[in-house]
């Protein structure tokens, strides 16, 4: 196994482009190292990104948007009060991952690129409209988070491509987001269903919404019918029921050791309602 710790993303990209066999980037390593030790994936090339300048930074931009380095950890995000005020849903989704120890290493980028359909931060990022910069042999391009995963364990990144930054849009006025997952326990478990909701209000009326589902299909889903169900409403019971129905209808889950098709489909609707209520309250400036 070859281990590299490049000083730039261009260098990392070149190393990956020229590598043979299995290549893995090392952000927090909470997926890579676990898979290595349990002999699920034994990489031939390991490219550690943590030596690249600025990879742990969390920066707020002049337009109110945010740029996060690819090695910024869940713990650092949770400690960042302003980020948490703007995007509590994204931060709480990341914060659900693992234990205190895991939080000290795990990253949004790793969670996204590991390609698990159950990844917790991904539906929250999709709902929030997060995008990433992809650096490759051809240079940089910007890609929406929902366009990165293509199936369990698979991404749209080509050989030699990697993510070099994460962009969270400006929060703007009267907006709120939330993420909820279902697990049978209270922590240290994997999402059976995950729902991210992000919305904006004009008075009491929802004017913009993005609803995203995790763990109910081979990839994260951005469900337009869910958004339609609540846009123009005051999140009354009828709108919530329509939201739940749309969420359940969008599900394309599997039966497995973690949950049944019927269960995931039903609970996706339940969580969509609950997350929407939290996002709505946050948009109104209420504590939730």
């Amino acid at each position: 196994m070859d281990y590299h710790s490049p000083a730039s993303f261009a260098e990392a990209s070149a190393l990956a482009a020229n590598a043979t066999g299995i290549t893995r980037f090392l952000a927090g390593g909470t997926d890579v190292l676990v898979q290595l030790r349990s002999e699920l994936v034994t990489p031939d090339t390991l490219i550690d990104l943590k030596k690249i300048d600025g990879v742990s930074d969390i920066n707020s931009n002049a337009d109110g948007s945010w740029t996060l380095g690819v090695a910024a950890t869940g713990a650092e995000m949770s400690e960042h009060a302003e980020l948490g005020r703007d995007w509590p849903g994204v931060v709480e989704a990341m914060d659900l991952i693992g234990s205190t120890q895991v939080q000290g290493r795990a990253t949004l980028t790793g969670n996204l690129c590991n390609g698990s359909p159950a990844a917790d931060s991904v539906p929250a990022m999709v709902a929030a409209g997060v995008s990433v910069t992809v650096t490759g042999p051809e240079g940089d391009r910007e890609v929406a988070v929902e366009d990165i995963p293509t199936g369990p364990g698979k991404t749209s990144l080509a050989k030699g491509e990697l993510i070099s930054a994460v962009h969270i849009p400006a929060r703007g006025e009267n907006g709120g987001d939330a993420y909820l997952r279902f697990i049978p326990r209270t922590e240290m478990d994997i999402a059976v269903v995950g729902v991210g909701v992000n919305l904006r209000l004009d008075g009491d009326t929802v004017t913009e919404a993005r609803v995203s589902l995790g763990a109910v299909a081979p990839t994260v889903l951005l469900v337009e019918d869910c958004a339609k169900a609540i846009i123009g409403s005051t999140l009354d019971d009828a709108a919530l029921d329509a939201l739940a129905a749309a969420a359940s209808a969008a599900c394309n889950p599997i039966d497995d050791k973690r949950g049944t098709i019927a269960f995931r489909t039903e609970v996706a609707g339940v969580l969509a309602k609950r997350a929407a209520k939290i996002a709505y309250a946050r948009a109104k400036g209420e504590q939730a």
Binding site: S38, E39, F182, P184, R185, T186, E187, M188, D189, I190, V192, D256, K257, R258, G259, T260, A262, F263, E266, V267, V270
Partner: protein, 751 residues
């Protein structure tokens, strides 16, 4: 055993000092199974079957043997019993067959070969070089399917005499017991409920994986360090499996990171020794978590039919149960225990119980706290709860009305001596928990539970030091704070402080045979032997004092740690403290020790009653346990904190078993959830504070009144939680675990 010296006033017993192993454990100094190393040590790894059932056509180890870091490879041919040299039979043969597959791999994870190499990584890599040719056979993992006529046969001829004619060869033992006439009893009932229940296999979930370090020379002399609940059984079994003399193998028990019954047999120990014998170097073997789940001994899964008749006043007029337990690809599922325990809390005129031991393509089951009893209690206590509900009766009152007491003919045969079931029920009724209001969406459940408890072979020695301190050697690994309890009991007899007694778990070369730390027997049996060994030493102390005073020994008695004249007629001498006598023991007759060994028979059965509140989210089927109270008879709590710990542990494991823990097998017969991420044991935040009430109805079979407490605590939870959840959800849950998908499906079905 007759005991005429019962004690009821105590100085040390009943206090709560810190455990002597506490500091080592919190500072990381304690040595567990994987913490031992030896010069020249090799690392072992085991190749396991990926098939649930397959004939092993050929194993080619040549490539692994050629690996430059590999020092030994073993297969079944390296053990005592090979097809050409049969010798082992009965349980030894079963254990050997489990430790290393013979002609067939019998379950996913069954060991087929092992290597020892100079590094753990090399050993793991070398496994990939072993080529095994399998002929995959049809498999069965479900207990009911394993009994069906078309089920694949796991092993012909495994059934014993007890199995009625015409049963499938996978049914290997049959039990039937009871008394009275159940049909007549059902005819007398105002309401009869008949229902069926299913539980899945669960794992004890001890945090420490199996680990050992073995050394065995070609001279047949060996040393073994391992994490175990019983090093003498490990010694005996390993010796048999390797064809060496028992006494030539010295086994030392490490500190143990949990066992709960799962470490009462051997898995990797004989393999490490076989590798060591071949490589002529020490070999360390440490299981991964996945190996622990796939290839050690989970509990049995069960399928049960219950029929109970009740009169309007709550009297149970008849009770009947059929209990089918699947215990893996070997005989041993405790269907008989399930049957015998199921109705044991009740004073019944008409009762009948039947138990089946059924083989399936799963790992060989091992004990798990009160093996077999929790599932039976789940089924029986659910039906009693349903009867109470339908007849509008209070569940505690109904249990009190039918409760067994001293003199009751137990459902499994004998008459009870003094028992404490009624006292636990009365304490439940009086407990504030039982009358606390419930919030909407919450339900309350009650259950009783019974376990036999066990005595077992026991040998204990105590040696006094010149400075008046004492060292106590017991042979039962400390799985629950027993060193503290032993020291308290010895302190009580000797009259010296707790801190002055050092308790050691002696190795197999130091004491006679000691049965395993199981059957809730340690505080009872090793405790009884400790008391007797200390009394033995006290007799000698009195002899020395008598000699120094020139009076007969029977004119001296032991009081508050001193020899004193037994009365005014014995003479007027100053008391001689223990340390004063030991200071001169070298010149007054030599070292002073005490010893006791026996197989005590008076373990004293134990009962408990649990009260549980559960809240069910009707939209997701998720359950949270909001309040939990354990009430159990301890006879006499030697160290109350560790008694409470046992109660809380039983409840915690019961919550896991009831709500989320289960072995999940795929269509291919492979275990799907062999990691803690997917085998959902409760995490700390899943549990409420578990309240405890220690009831003390002294056991007439122990000098201080002790009853074992380790196992009874896991008997009521499954039922108590199922009753609470069924009330909260408004629908009867008949299958464990009551995972959210199952509860939500039941809610939907119920409309």
């Amino acid at each position: 055993m007759a005991l005429d010296d019962r004690k009821s006033e105590f100085t040390f017993v009943g206090t709560r000092p810190n455990r002597p192993d506490g500091l080592d454990k919190v500072t990381g100094r304690a040595k567990f199974g994987a913490d031992m190393s030896a010069p020249g040590m090799l690392h072992g790894a085991i190749l396991r079957s990926p098939h649930a059932h397959a004939r092993i056509v050929k194993i080619d180890t040549s490539k692994a043997e050629a690996h430059k870091e590999v020092k030994a490879v073993v297969t079944r041919a390296d053990f005592a019993d090979v097809p050409f040299k049969p010798g082992l039979e009965g349980e030894f043969w079963n254990v050997l067959e489990n430790v290393m597959a013979g002609e067939k791999a019998l379950y996913d994870g069954h060991a087929v070969a092992a290597v020892a190499a100079t590094s753990a990584l090399a050993a793991r890599d070398a496994l990939k070089l072993i080529e095994v040719e399998y002929e995959v056979l049809p498999h069965v993992t479900d207990v009911d399917k394993a009994m069906a006529p078309d089920a694949p046969v796991i092993r012909e001829g495994a059934a014993d005499y007890s199995v009625p004619e015409g049963m499938h060869p996978n049914v290997v033992r049959y039990h039937e017991s009871g008394h009275g006439d159940v049909e007549a009893g059902f005819a007398e009932a105002d309401l009869v409920i008949e229902d069926s229940f299913v539980t899945e296999a669960t794992h004890q979930g001890y945090i420490e994986p199996h680990a050992c370090l073995g050394m065995l020379g070609n001279d047949g002399k060996g040393e073994l360090w391992c994490t175990t609940q019983g090093h003498w059984i490990a010694q005996k079994t390993c010796a048999a499996l390797l064809g060496i003399e028992t006494s030539q193998l010295r086994v030392t028990a490490s500190e143990i990171g949990g066992g709960f019954g799962g470490k009462t047999t051997v898995f990797i120990e004989p393999v490490a020794l076989a590798l060591s014998r071949k490589a002529n170097r020490p070999v360390k073997l440490v299981m991964t978590r996945s190996e622990v789940f796939r290839a050690t001994g989970p509990t049995s899964s069960a399928s049960m039919d219950i029929k109970i008749g009740m009169k309007k006043d709550g009297t149970i007029s008849a009770a009947q149960g059929v209990f089918r337990l699947q215990g893996g690809a070997f005989p041993g599922a405790p269907g008989d225990m399930t049957a015998m325990c199921a109705f044991a809390p009740y004073n019944l005129t008409n009762v009948k119980q039947v138990g089946y031991d059924v083989m399936a393509n799963r790992p060989k089951q091992a004990a798990y706290r009160a093996p077999g009893a929790p599932m039976g209690a789940f089924a029986v206590e659910s039906v009693i709860d349903e009867l109470c509900k339908k007849l509008g009766l209070d569940p505690v009152d109904v249990r009190l009305k039918n409760a067994a007491h001293e003199g009751t003919k137990a459902s499994y045969g004998p008459r009870y001596e003094r028992i404490g079931l009624v006292e636990t029920l009365e304490a439940a009724k009086a407990h504030p928990h039982y009358s606390a209001p419930l919030k909407p969406g919450q339900g309350r459940g009650i259950s009783c539970g019974f376990w036999f408890n066990h005595g077992g072979e026991t040998s204990v020695s105590l040696a006094l030091s010149e400075d008046g301190s004492a060292q106590l050697m017991v042979g039962t690994p400390d799985i629950g704070g027993s060193r503290a309890s032993m020291a308290l009991m010895a302190a009580e007899v000797l009259g010296i402080p707790y801190e002055n007694i050092r308790v050691t778990i002696a190795d197999t070369a130091t004491l006679g045979y000691n049965d395993v730390s199981h059957g809730s027997r340690v505080t009872y049996a090793s405790g009884l032997a400790t008391i007797k060994a200390a009394k033995h030493a006290v007799e000698k102390l009195c002899e020395r004092a008598a000699a120094s005073w020139g009076i007969p020994t029977d004119a001296v008695k032991w009081e508050n740690g001193c020899a004193v004249p037994s009365g005014p007629n014995a003479g007027d001498f100053d008391p001689r403290p223990l340390a004063d006598i030991t200071a001169h023991m070298g010149s007054t007759g030599g070292p002073i020790s005490g010893h006791f060994e026996a197989t005590p028979e008076g373990a004293g059965v134990s009962f408990g009653t649990h009260i549980v509140d559960a809240e069910v989210d009707p939209e997701t089927g998720k359950t949270s346990i909001t309040r939990y109270t354990v009430i159990q008879d301890a006879g006499k709590a030697i160290h109350p904190t560790y008694v409470e710990g046992q109660y809380q542990g039983g409840a915690a494991q019961g919550i896991g078993w009831a709500l989320n823990e289960e072995y999940i097998y795929g269509e291919d017969g492979r275990l799907q959830n062999s990691i803690f991420l997917d085998y959902r044991i409760p995490v700390a935040s899943d549990l409420p504070m578990i309240d405890t009430v220690i009831v003390e109805v002294p056991n007439p079979g122990h000098p201080f009144g002790v009853r074992g407490v380790g196992e009874t605590g896991i008997v009521p939870p499954l039922a108590a939680i199922a009753n609470a959840v069924s009330h909260a959800a408004g629908v009867r849950m008949r299958q464990l675990p009551m995972s959210p998908p199952r509860i939500l499906a039941a809610l939907k079905e119920n409309g």
